[in-house]
Amino acid sequence: MKSLRIARQLLWANRWLWLVLVLYPWGMAAILLIGNIHPAPEDIAAIFMQQSTYGLALVAFAGGALLGNEQRSRRIVLVLSRAVSRRQYLAALWLAAFLPLLLYVLDLALTAPLLGAPADVLSQTLGALLLLSLTLASLAVLASLALPGVIAGILSLGMVSLPLLFPPGWQIAQTRLLQILLSGPITENARLVFGSGLLEGLALSAAIFEGAVRIFKRRDLRLKSE
């Protein structure tokens, strides 16, 4: 509960950035609709999938930058001088990275049908985006403990994409989810992929988050002295 309250403050503090990102799908839809531009269905699907990958960037760069921003601004002092554990604080960062994605996904889910995006593309792409972001948010928070925001974001994006490099026999559900996000929906075993993707995403996210907590507990805060 405390984590959610802190996350709400973090989101409010960065509300203009989130607002721009969350309004972006509506802006794109408006341009296409008002401009009377009628892209081909496959172009619509491509635009939609491209917008979905921006969601990954949103989570990676937000998650990677939050800790550094809060330390630079010293607002972290306001929170961690109270009965808030470092685990709760990292959970707040995780939520602040992940929650805007829910809004973004909702935006995409509302705007894509207006443009005529196919239903299977819509559901599978957004599902894959959400499940991959579980792991990505944890990776970004972990990377932000040691790296500046942008580099932490890039590194976490690289890490979450690593399953694409796994040889065929070693591919995990995350690999399939990445393929869905980048190449389009699958027709076989979709339920199995998403079910195992959810379990795998939760497990990976929890393990990475736990690692981040253990590291954060053993670290000094980096506070600029006045």
Binding site: R5, W12, V77, L78, S81, R82, A83, L223
Partner: protein, 295 residues
Amino acid sequence: MPSALVFDHISKHFGSARALEDVSFSLEPGEILGLVGPNGAGKTTAMQIATGFLLPGSGTGTLMGHSFGQASARRYLGFVPDAPVFFGGNAFDALRFAAQLSDVTPTREAMEGLLRRVGLLEWKRDVRRFSRGMQQRLALALALIHGPKMLILDEPASALDPQGVLDVRNLLKELRSEGAAILLSSHQLGEVAVVSDRIAFLHEGRLMRYGRLEELLKSTGEMTIALRNFMPDAEFRAQWGEAIAPGTWKTPASDVRRFLETAWTRGAELVSVTPMHGDLSSLFLEWTSSEATTR
């Protein structure tokens, strides 16, 4: 009842730079400890270790019986940083958020009472638009919202006007009488001297002096000696220096006997020998310069 704050042989280094070296002291409930020292002495590091922002390199410490760094320890802690920052919203929003993080739910009346107690009467504006003095008052209110038993205050009155400084002084005395333990760091040494029961003097990461203020003031180690019917000759002046006032000399306590023998052989009559009483500011300068010369 456990000590409110215990530093037990705590050291902290940043790379090769020493921030704290084997620092030990304690603070009891109902007591104010003034933490003084020149810039870079380690005061902020000590406070940041107590609040759990920094981890001690070696040694241990407790806050109300809980190890530093535990969230449970900070349940009893109110902290005012040297430069308070806020998330935004009005004073009530800031208080409500702080209270939620400390597991309390104060009423609107309680919050208003607290804001009045710290002298903050502007409640509706965004707190980030407050003047620095108002922000310090609000930071004090945030620190007190959950009725902490231990307060760590880093320059709590540095941006306040004289009335504000007086208000803070009275507030600290009230809190002490209510049983709160207070660790106070400030460069306003007059204020530290007025409110503190004990003083800890840090210099280059080491705790150089620690004790009750009156004892430290006595321990300047110098005496003033007043004489009459005495005109010092050149040899006497060369040995003991010039008088600090007509008929009055200052000398280290260990030299008093030799001084008096020298004066008596020249026919002087003794009026008084009294320990020198400085104030905290002059002690601070003396300690700082003496530590610099003995390095």
